[in-house]
Amino acid sequence: MGNALLETKGLHRFFGGLHAVNDVSIAVSQGAIKGVIGPNGAGKTTLFNLIAGTIQPHNGEVIFRDKKITALKPHAVACRGIARTFQTTKLFSNMTVLENVMMGRHCRTRCGFISGMLNLPRTWREDKQTKEKALSILEDIGLKEHALETASNLPFGRQRLVEFARALAMEPELLLLDEPAAGLNIYETKELAKLILWIRDRGVTCLVVEHDMSLVMAICDDVVVLDQGRKIAEGPPRTVQQNPEVIRIYLGDSDA
């Protein structure tokens, strides 16, 4: 594993009286798959939102490729190379699968209002490239034959794949996956594990929030455990699994 691609340093976030994220410092190595686990309400999604810029931290900083990205807006974070998927799939449901994936190219393309309205030759060229790129990603992910279907007409599992394809179209350095296995059956989860490994092998670092322990154990190089907003353990999956504190929060005290 190489240097840290993403680092958070002492992140804090309150929601009223709730200390949702409390002094969380993590580092994600280049080329790794890192898992974030913890019980419900542990602050996992909040941590994600802090990294992605959806909400601002009250203290601490986020460093990506040695640059501070704290307090940047989500679109600015995205354009620096951080893609994300959502806990509940957020597709553009009335757009086609292809258009959804083409949206992933937004940061990598330039044409604005004027060249769009005038439909200049460079607009066509750029649009053509966007389309080709999107189609090739759909082909890789096995959805090419559904390219022209309306996104909301696909079954749930496929919609999630479209969201993955859309994120991949951004050609991100880091992919944030928020509970990618939620709502999938065991076969679909197994396919998902393969897909995440394949994404990693294409050189995309992944940070995964997940409840499905078998998935985390199977794919993650490194795991961080959160509980009540605090980081309580970090390390390779096998080690973390044996950490007494982790066992306590998942299974309860032995004398309780």
Partner: protein, 356 residues
Amino acid sequence: MTHFRRYIPVIAVAIGVIILQVVLSGTHSTYYMTQITMSAYYALVVIGLCLLMGYAGQISLGHAGFFAIGGYTTAVLTTFNLMEYRDTPLVSLCQSLGLVAQRQDIYGADILAFSPWPAFAVAILLTAIIAFMIGLPVIRLKGHYMAMASLGFGLIIYRIVLGGRIFGQADGISNVPPFKIIAGLEVNGRAAFRIESYYIAWFVVLAAMTLAINLVHSRVGRALRSIHENEEAAHSLGVNTYRYKLLVFVLSALFAAVGGVLLTHYNGSIGPSEVTVMKSVRYLVIVAVGGMANLWGALFMGVLLNFLSLRGVFGSYDDAVFAIILIAIMLLAPQGLLRLPKLRAVTSLLSRRANG
């Protein structure tokens, strides 16, 4: 040539416009053209609003305000007599640049006022600035709140126009000169210019449609639709949602202002009735009847309903008719009239081509 296919409806409408002119001239009923021309200018407002509401999903109840900013700016500039200031350096500079011109009003008095082209430029620039300033805070609001804020803007413009002496108060401004676009081609409300003005109006409308169609099929258009569908997801893909919403707001205001300027020159006047809340509601109704994200629907309904209204078909129930249409559409056909099953076969052919 998939790009070409989206222009087929433009060409079809252009042919339809020509056929209509030939038929009306042949049957000696060219008087209909006056209202068709006026409807075409109103349709410009609707096209812009369709981009804003149908595609980007942002509601505006203040578009009559932008129409009026365009119309009143050109009306004031082209009628305000600069005769007594003719020796001031600024006016003489404008005169030497050809920005102001001398003419006689209908009573034979000499008037020195801005020519329509510079007035048009000022109107567009002013609308862009005002839309930008209004948009900065308003665009941050969502749904009903944005609707109310834009409604407030429309009311403010209405009161300014009604109270301002320079705007003619309740009388509005009349004696606005015709707009000579180039030598021998002018937007002029007189019967002799009926056919000429009709073609100019449709040229402008179809040019605006072409720009709008190109836009919705472009990268920007996709981004606007994505904001409408799921703003959070759009944001996470790198779409600067605030900037895009602001720019499309300004753009749609500019469409309205162009309509306002040209219609004011065509009518030779503008009055506060153009700025009422009911006008804004009317534009919104037309976009809804046309099917929200449907530029051709908006154009068709924009021309049809305005034409009927201008012909006086709705009588004194004019505003009530639009309100009833809005309620009926929301209850019975929220997808717009043109997407009702029976009409679908007809429209799907067109829209499939338009989306190609």
